[in-house]
């Protein structure tokens, strides 16, 4: 990647709680080039939304942030402290998960779209209204003139999300962050919204960060994927590499656990045993060790660093899938029947045996 548009280095976000410091994001780094899409995938609590909010300067003031965020050579975190408000909403914008709560219920949608044009770009009332009408057309809303004068409750979920996208695009941003933009929508609408985002990104040469919990959503759409777990980057690669040469056991487990349409009925799923860890008390080792079938003794005491596997493929694991270390750890776990973390390998073998 030549000159990245956005560069995040060693981002740390913590929240002080009564039980101690909750590390929501722990050492996340990535680069995003102009016109590219980065997919961030992870479960709830993995820190993906906190990462997005940090970029958007939307964290509460008590959050403890460390690390650097550079956008086109400018220090984003310094802008936040200096109160530079014409950056967010103009160059970097965000689309949220729930289109109902991200729209103001007592303002007409036309006014809401026009607002950012008037505030940031100092458009006149009439210019802003005309542009808002154009934007609604661009996001595929029929009868845009009529919709401008409607309130959010008069629109369906899909249309509302299109309005939110129109708002985000109003000032022609260079980076759009979409945080689970389709999770609250029906499947039939979900595909339309994702396709729309893709088209708009291409037309405008915008960069995009697409946050989701579903690897299937980013598979055909993102250029790069970052898999997060417990606030840390587990694996990072371009999309094709990630799916063809998966290295991290968590990525593999995530893919295996999701039922697919082309599987026969009653195919036994391979679950990820246990629950995500407590972010306040992560302990020294790898956060996924307790649920991992490739777990080795080192995983419990030593937190793996993000190792390079060539071509920008990075993976934080002591015994990655598809390597000798990974195979050795798996074989030894199968022999003893339990992983060093005390997980019964039977939970995996029973499941795998039946699927085969």
């Amino acid at each position: 990647m030549a000159v990245p548009l956005l560069s995040v280095a060693d981002l740390q976000v913590g929240f002080a709680t009564q039980r101690g410091l909750l590390r929501a994001v722990d050492g996340v780094s990535f680069d995003l080039a102009e016109g590219q899409t980065l997919g961030i995938v992870g479960e709830s609590g993995s820190g993906k939304s906190v990462t997005a909010k940090t970029l958007m300067n939307l964290l509460p003031s008590y959050a403890r942030v460390d690390g650097s965020v550079t956008f086109d050579g400018r220090d984003v975190r310094a802008m936040a402290t200096e109160g530079e408000r014409h950056f967010w909403g103009v160059e970097m914008t965000m689309v949220f998960q729930d289109p109902m709560t991200s729209l103001n219920p007592v303002k007409k949608v036309g006014e809401q779209i026009a607002e950012s044009l008037r505030v940031h770009l100092k458009r006149s009332r009439k210019e802003a209204r005309d542009e808002a009408c154009d934007l609604l057309q661009q996001v595929g809303i029929p009868e845009p003139k009529k919709r401008l004068t409607q309130y959010p409750h008069e629109l369906s979920g899909g249309l509302r999300q299109r309005v939110v996208i129109a708002m985000a695009l109003a000032c022609s941003p260079r980076l759009l962050i979409a945080d689970e933009p389709t999770t609250a929508l029906d499947v039939t609408v979900q595909k339309h919204i994702l396709d729309l985002l893709d088209e708009l990104r291409e037309e405008r040469g915008m960069a995009m960060i697409l946050i989701t919990h579903d690897l299937g959503v980013v598979k055909g759409r993102a250029d790069q994927i970052m898999v997060m777990y417990a606030g840390r980057t587990m694996e990072q690669a371009d999309t094709a590499t990630l799916f063809s040469e998966m290295r991290h056991p968590y990525t593999e487990a995530l893919l295996e656990t999701i039922p697919r349409i082309d599987m026969a009925s009653h195919t036994r799923l391979v679950p990820i045993p246990g629950n995500p860890p407590d972010a306040v008390d992560l302990g020294p080792g790898c956060p996924f060790a307790q649920r991992c079938r490739y777990c080795s003794a080192a995983c419990l005491v030593d937190q793996p660093g993000l190792d390079q596997h060539g071509d920008g493929h990075a993976c934080a694991c002591h015994s990655p899938v598809g390597t000798e270390a990974g195979a050795a750890a798996h074989v030894s776990n199968l022999e003893t029947g339990v992983t060093p973390a005390g997980l019964d390998m039977g939970t995996f073998t029973a499941a795998v045996g039946e699927t085969a």
Binding site: G216, P259, D262, M263, S265, L269
Partner: protein, 336 residues
């Protein structure tokens, strides 16, 4: 799109639940009526899993609630064991008679945390139905049964029993809900989007538990979800619903390998990783679901259907047989 017609009904002694011409309407003010479920018929055989799939607002949850008479359907019948002498028509029962049948049909809900009383301990939540039921079955040991179902769903009874719901994660709360439903030994378990609120990593655990429980306790499941791949995984037979009507019913393999109804094809093409039996372009339909207060005439799907003609507007299609155990309500179904 029609639920009219009953060709999909099976005439077997194995049928444990039969729903005929189910209609559910709600007043919407100004003398308007919401047609939530209109003339839906299906049956479920013993030991089978019936999946109900459709977009939000298609009436799948309303159907589930009508099965347990919460609230009572506007018209239509829900019958348990229809083919035997012990047949019970739930829609005819009232008061004590209905209450005594209720243990046979239990339900689990979408949001595991809000469906548990936060102020009660797990053993009381799981044991409540049992304690009431015990009045008629004095030989049941409540504590032993609570322990049994808790360990069946993978929770340690010693640790879990005296805790309260906030001490558990979403996936664990859903296990508690399942244990509560199983405690009084139901025949039919109705699952209304049981995994939609859970993380993908926990979803598979719950789906596997449901399969295990089905085998261990001899359950019949009615499984509702908007996620086609989940429904595909758990179901033997699938009902596709749209705006209160049934589009297509069939055994899971037939329906997913040869989807006949245009709406089923749209659903399959819209999935994040679309099915290979349909073309990706088939997902191109409008976003807007018509209002159930004033549903379209004829076939209710015609306003979004790529194949719609005048016939679809004037005449409601009737269920027709497409193949063995595969039925579709469409004037222009896809043929394999």
């Amino acid at each position: 799109m029609a639920g009219s017609g009953s060709i999909q009904m099976r005439d077997s002694d194995d049928v444990v639940l039969r729903v005929e011409n189910l209609v559910m309407e709600f007043p919407a003010g100004l003398k308007q009526v919401v047609h939530a479920v209109s003339d839906v018929s299906f049956d479920v055989c013993r030991g089978e899993t019936l999946g109900i799939v459709g977009e939000s607002g298609c009436g799948k949850s309303t159907t589930a609630r009508a099965l347990v008479q919460l609230p009572r359907p506007t018209s239509g019948t829900v019958t348990l064991d229809p083919g035997t002498d012990s047949r019970v028509e739930l829609t005819d029962l009232e008061g004590e008679a209905l209450r005594s049948v209720r243990p046979r049909v239990q339900m689990i809900f979408q949001d595991p945390i809000s469906s548990l009383n936060p102020r009660r301990r797990v053993k009381d939540i799981v044991g409540e139905g049992l304690a009431i039921w015990c009045d008629e079955h004095p030989d049941v040991d409540v504590d032993a049964r609570v322990d049994e179902v808790l360990s069946a769903v993978g929770l340690d009874p010693v640790v879990a029993a005296s805790r309260r719901p906030h001490e558990f994660s979403g996936g664990q709360c859903q296990r508690i809900s399942i244990a509560r439903a199983l405690a009084i030994d139901p025949e039919i378990l109705i699952c209304d989007e049981p995994v939609s609120a859970l993380d993908v990593s926990v979803q598979a655990q719950i789906l596997n538990i449901l399969e295990e429980m089905k085998e261990r306790f001899g359950l019949t499941l009615v499984f509702i979800s908007h996620d086609l791949s989940v429904v595909r995984n758990v179901s033997d037979r699938v009902v596709v619903m749209y705006l209160g009507k049934v589009c297509e019913i069939g055994n899971s393999d037939a329906l997913f390998s040869e989807p006949a109804h245009p709406y089923t094809r749209v659903l399959l093409a819209s999935a994040p990783e679309p099915s290979t039996v349909v073309d990706a372009s088939e997902s191109a339909i409008g976003d807007e679901i018509p209002s159930p207060i004033n549903p379209p005439s004829g076939c209710r799907f015609r306003t979004r259907c790529p194949r719609a003609t005048e016939l679809c507007a004037s005449q409601e299609p009737v269920m027709e047989e497409m193949g063995p155990d595969h039925f579709v309500a469409c004037h222009f179904p896809s043929t394999p």
